[in-house]
């Protein structure tokens, strides 16, 4: 049995050790925030935090997870939103929303490291996350808004 800590809780999981973390989160723990996009670590839809750092859960075997995992469900809730989540709602920064998990998880980890980023730094931080609806301008506005919220 493999054990992992997710959103502050310890779980024993039945999956084979080489199973990507993503399938364990979704199918065993019913945490549907992280999404399957490509399974190749190319698009970012599956992003979670491991010890606060963004990780592509589609490409991390569950047995290799040593740190504490946070999914978007553990980041914030409607009652207690993370500033990045609050900013995404305020800016209406989603269309289909399928990539948004990755945008929020990547941006929240980035702002924790760099709370006063330049525009270029924000764009560089999100460059590995793909959005097909073309919601980029709103996502950028939301991350800027979150940065100024966090800074104030």
């Amino acid at each position: 049995m493999t054990a992992i800590t997710v959103n502050g809780r310890r779980h024993e999981v039945a999956a084979a050790p080489d199973t990507p973390l993503l399938y364990v989160l979704r199918n065993e723990l019913a945490l549907n925030g992280p999404k399957f996009g490509c399974g190749l670590a190319q698009c970012g839809a599956c992003t979670v935090h491991i010890d606060g750092k963004p990780a592509r859960s589609c490409s991390v075997p569950v047995s290799a997870v040593k740190g504490s995992v946070t999914t978007i469900e553990g980041l914030g809730t409607p009652d207690k939103p993370h500033p990045v989540q609050a900013a995404f709602v305020a800016e209406q920064a989603a269309q289909c929303g399928y990539c948004i998990n990755g945008m929020i998880m990547t941006a929240s980890a980035f702002l924790a490291q760099n709370p006063k980023p330049t525009e270029q730094q924000i764009r560089a931080a999100l460059d590995g996350n793909l959005c097909r609806c073309g919601t980029h301008m709103r996502i950028l506005r939301a991350v800027r808004r979150a940065a100024s919220e966090i800074a104030s």
């Binding site: 490509c38 190749l40 469900e73 399928y98 793909l130 097909r132 301008m137």
Partner: protein
């Protein structure tokens, strides 16, 4: 599980408003089923308004916009309206959610249904208060009498079921009375998307459900020669191999087990086709047998072309492009000998139900399709295919099966946007005006959606040998110019075969036709020594067309540019381009002006700033509208700058994001400025597609302005631009 609408409504007290769908009713009088009344909305005893909507949410915000229309007409708080969408057992068939037509077509239907419901409720209240209905006031579903006294809609319904057939006498509000329509109401489902709790099809799990994966040949036409089931025998998860006709899939207990089995399964195929070389595609497309059709003609084009001193001719090409949904397509099916339920993110609940019924060999009244939102689709992506895949696998194993495509399935097998060739010849009169315009387009149809007449439009259906059907729709979209020319001709060569499987990608043939039309008008403006905006307006009669061009000129602080400013100096070149569309010649009006920067050394094109003016009639939700315009622009910039589906002689090779790059954050514009032109007296014609159409031409025109070099093939990749500048 197969509960029908009437049973659903029997449960609780409700006012149910029913009527037939007007545009189907007149065209298809012969079908008695269409004469039945359909329930459109119900006012429950708790005051909740449930709207039964055959259209679905694809991430474009129509769920919110349509709910606004209902709340407006019923005079209830927006939050009371619940949209139940795309369930074939519960919703009226309003046709597929396509063509930027949801607010345009479903909007008036729901507006009328809500107006009918309000009228009925007011008549009931008036009888109770013994006053005229016209004397009553309604605020959030509470009806007030002039002499005092209130009653809520819920109290009026009183737990009873009250059926009201459509009377046709209820008048919707005039736009100056609107308090909900026209407001930037936040998207209903957006918070759940931000907190990770939104229900996507990919999240659906049910007791006893197994996981399936497909095993597809390099090209869908391939013949199955053999499956080595022993190759997966030793794998965990009670792996079962499903083979039917040329269809191959695997089913296992757990998702990762199904993925492993699909990778391991040894299958032999015989390839049925050889693809042309990619570099030959423009000539190959022009040479494909097609049915010629004259779409429009005026004056004498031949005489005008041969009779003028100054004439031009140019050919344009747009390659196959893909939808590229971020989420791999997914569906769940539960098929038993008694009936089937399909959970699907399809755009076409009813048509897909009919097609999958044929794939399963079941009468369609035994099949229910329940729509659940998926990843954004931008047209006909893998959603329908995967639904048929899940159905076939569930039927084979007798358990509910969830199938999700892998990334290579999605990129490799989704139906592609068609490659198209356009050629335009034009001539100028002595004043530089267009004397002749001769347009030709070579395109297949763009509508390969599954339906009762095309079950083979699903991959699984095709692999069972069922008939397919590529409808001609979309090839001619925006082939006809909005400009008025004395002599003009527009011809379509409707191609009878395609290199790759194609179907509807956002805008169908419109972005391609608009690329050609709006590039060529720019070429003529240049030949005439005229500013491209002034030159366009000179040839327009439609006031709304002129208004978007004037508006975008103002927004972009356009300065006249009768000649390209492109010099030959070494540094980065900057240029501006404009393009216009009257979408589908009936829908929204859009003008786009944008600024590019071209790195001469590398050929890299960056779009720095975009200005757009947009008129889609009465605006329902201005923020949702802006979101759609921004999305159309960014997505089509990606198509313009980067996208081309690549293949070798045997297969599509663009099977992941490295081999099919799309625009990233570092390359999206600094700013997209938008002017919305609201036309309260005009129908709301939708905004899901129009702003995509002019983008490719605007970029090409800006590159020309920057460099003096005209690019006539999409994409304007760094490699291609560098070669053109050399």
């Amino acid at each position: 599980m197969n509960m029908d609408r009437r049973e659903f409504l029997k449960g609780a007290g409700a006012l149910v408003v029913s009527f037939t769908i007007p545009e189907l009713g007149s065209a298809q009088q012969a079908d008695p089923k269409l004469q039945q009344l359909d329930a459109w909305l119900a006012v429950g005893a708790d005051g909740q308004v449930t709207v039964f909507c055959g259209k679905v949410e694809l991430g474009t915000g129509v769920q919110t916009a349509l709910a606004q229309i209902v709340a407006e007409e019923l005079d209830v708080a927006f939050a009371r309206v619940f949209m139940l969408m795309g369930d074939t057992a519960l919703c009226p068939n309003q046709g597929p959610t396509v063509g930027s037509q949801t607010v345009y077509r479903a909007g008036p239907q729901l507006r009328q249904a809500a107006a009918e419901a309000r009228k009925t409720l007011l008549e009931m209240a008036a009888a109770g208060f013994k006053v005229e209905a016209a004397q009553l006031k309604v605020v959030d579903g509470i009806v007030s009498a002039p002499e005092g006294g209130n009653v809520s809609y819920a109290e009026l319904v009183g737990g009873k079921k009250i059926d009201r057939a459509f009377s046709g006498s209820a008048r919707p509000k005039s736009p100056d009375q609107h308090t909900v329509v026209g407001k930037p109401i936040p998207r209903v489902e957006l918070p759940a998307k931000v907190f990770g709790t939104h229900v996507y099809i990919q999240n659906l799990r049910m007791p006893g459900m197994l996981h399936g994966r497909v095993v597809r040949p390099p090209m869908p036409e391939a013949r199955l020669d053999g499956v080595d089931e022993a190759s997966v025998k030793s794998l965990p998860g009670d792996v079962r191999v499903v083979v039917k006709g040329n269809f191959v899939g695997v089913v296992a207990d757990r998702e990762e087990q199904a993925i492993r089995a699909a990778r391991a399964l040894k299958v032999r195929w015989t390839q049925a086709v050889e693809l042309p070389k990619m570099e030959d595609m423009p000539a190959f497309t022009r040479g494909t047998p097609g049915r010629p059709r004259v779409l429009a003609t005026s004056g004498d084009v031949e005489a005008a072309l041969s009779g003028t001193a100054k004439s031009l001719r140019a050919q344009y090409y747009v390659p196959h492009q893909m939808h590229g949904s971020i989420g791999a397509s997914c569906a769940v099916a539960s098929v038993t000998p008694e009936g089937a339920t399909l959970w699907s993110p399809t755009q076409s609940s009813f048509n897909l139900r009919d097609a999958v019924a044929l794939v399963l060999g079941m009468p369609r009244d035994k099949v229910r399709l329940v729509w659940i939102e998926g990843s954004g689709c931008y047209g006909h992506n893998g959603a329908d295919d995967v639904t048929a895949d899940a159905a076939l696998m569930s039927q084979a194993v007798g358990r509910p099966v969830r199938v999700q495509w892998m990334r290579h399935d999605e990129h490799g097998n989704e139906p592609k946007g068609a490659a198209m060739v356009m050629e335009v010849a034009g001539a100028l009169d002595p004043r530089g005006n267009v004397a002749a315009w001769d347009y030709q387009v070579w395109s297949p149809g763009h509508a390969g959606r599954p339906a009762a007449n095309g079950p083979g439009n699903t991959l699984a259906g095709a692999q069972l040998g069922l008939p397919d059907n590529l409808a001609p729709a979309g090839a001619d979209r925006n082939a006809r110019p909005t400009y008025v020319f004395p002599n003009s001709r527009v011809r379509l060569h409707l191609l009878q075969s395609t290199v790759l499987r194609v179907s509807s990608l956002r805008g169908l043939g419109s972005p391609q036709n608009t690329f050609a039309n709006e590039s060529f008008i720019d070429e003529l403006a240049h030949a005439a020594g005229a500013d491209p905006i002034e030159y366009r307006i000179r040839h327009l009669k439609d006031e709304r067309a002129i208004a978007v061009l004037e508006s975008v000129a103002k927004l972009a602080q356009w300065s006249p540019r009768p000649a390209p400013r492109g010099g030959r100096d070494a540094g980065p070149a900057h240029g501006r381009g404009v393009a216009f569309v009257h979408y589908d010649n009936y829908s929204g009006y859009v003008a786009i002006a944008l600024q590019v920067r071209v790195e001469r050394a590398t050929g890299k094109v960056s779009v720095e700033r975009v200005a757009a003016a947009h008129d889609c009639g009465l605006i329902v939700n201005p923020d949702g509208l802006r979101n759609q315009i921004e999305g159309n622009i960014v997505q089509t910039l990606s198509r313009a700058l980067l996208e081309e589906v690549k293949f070798d002689t045997e297969k599509v090779t663009s099977i992941d994001w490295q081999r099919y790059p799309i625009l990233r954050f570092s390359d999206v514009p600094e700013d997209i400025a938008i002017t919305l032109i609201n036309r309260p007296d005009k129908p709301s014609v939708g905004a899901g597609e129009p702003a995509a159409a002019p983008v490719m031409a605007a970029v090409a025109n800006a590159i020309f302005d920057a460099t003096g070099v005209r690019l006539r093939s999409v994409p304007f990749s760094a490699e291609r631009v560098k070669a053109a500048l050399a």
